[in-house]
Subunit: 133 residues, 2 copies
DNA sequence: CTAGTCCTTCCCGTAACAGGAAGGTCAAGG
DNA sequence: CCTTGACCTTCCTGTTACGGGAAGGACTAG
């Protein structure tokens, strides 16, 4: 398979696939003409990475997940620990975003949104409120 | 005020303040010795930016907010529109994170997390589930 | 033989800074 | 006067995960 096929089948852009090779996530073979020659195993890895990325794992986390995936001697506890750590980060991000959302919603709802200059959003940002810690 | 004072009072790192000057968010004066000389108005702007950043506004959004803040002829509707657009982005991000969280939680709870290699998290990532769109 | 599509590498740009090097400035102390 | 230390300056590199685009080789269809 050439990179175009793999891109279509994995849903990842060719650029991204080249990048993943560059950083050593995958190691496709090369044809005589210099084209990358992807095996099914490469495609599977790319799909794996794509799904892990879709769950918000960083590239380095994906690298660890791939290593665990390749390691038949792994302990599932290692995988679970990685996933739980990531879950914690997701939860923290959600908390942070909800705090922003709550504060901003309050400011927005207090703003008339007409053609006059008075704006609680701007004064809220200008004054040291309790808003943002 | 020197940059150290402003950093302490605004809560922003000196590096960040220099960066904000570099991209034109603030324009502090200069003393004869070459040191930046901050006025109260600079400090206020930095505090404003800091709070806007704390609410998740991008630098460019902060730039627009600052422009609106400086413009006594502004319409509050312009500010509100900016804030509402940002609120929408926050909401979308939360939805995305919650979807990740739900999927990952399901995988994690299905994983024994012991010393054996069998791991639903890895197989879930390896197989084309309905998990990630 | 040519047009069009695919592939290659290489280099720059993104957001919002952080870290650190090399060197100038200033206030205090001996 | 000299030094020490804390402050300030600019400049350069690195971060994350790619995207855009140039310059040029490879392959396929007509």
């Amino acid at each position: 398979m050439n990179i175009g096929d793999v891109a279509a089948r994995s849903g990842l852009p060719a650029k991204t696939i080249r990048y993943y090779e560059e950083i050593g996530l995958i190691r496709p073979l090369r044809s005589d003409n210099g084209y990358r020659a992807f095996r099914d195993s490469d495609l599977h890895k790319l799909a794996f990475i794509g799904r892990a990325r879709g769950l918000g794992f960083s590239i380095e986390e994906c690298r660890k997940l791939l290593a665990l995936y390749d390691d038949r001697q792994r302990a599932s506890s290692d995988v679970k620990a990685l996933a739980e750590a990531h879950l914690t980060q997701i939860a923290e991000k959600i908390v942070e975003l909800r705090a922003m959302e709550a504060t901003l919603k309050a400011l927005v709802s207090a703003c008339a949104g007409d053609d006059r200059p008075d704006c609680p959003i701007l004064t809220g940002l200008a004054e040291a409120g309790e808003c943002c810690g």
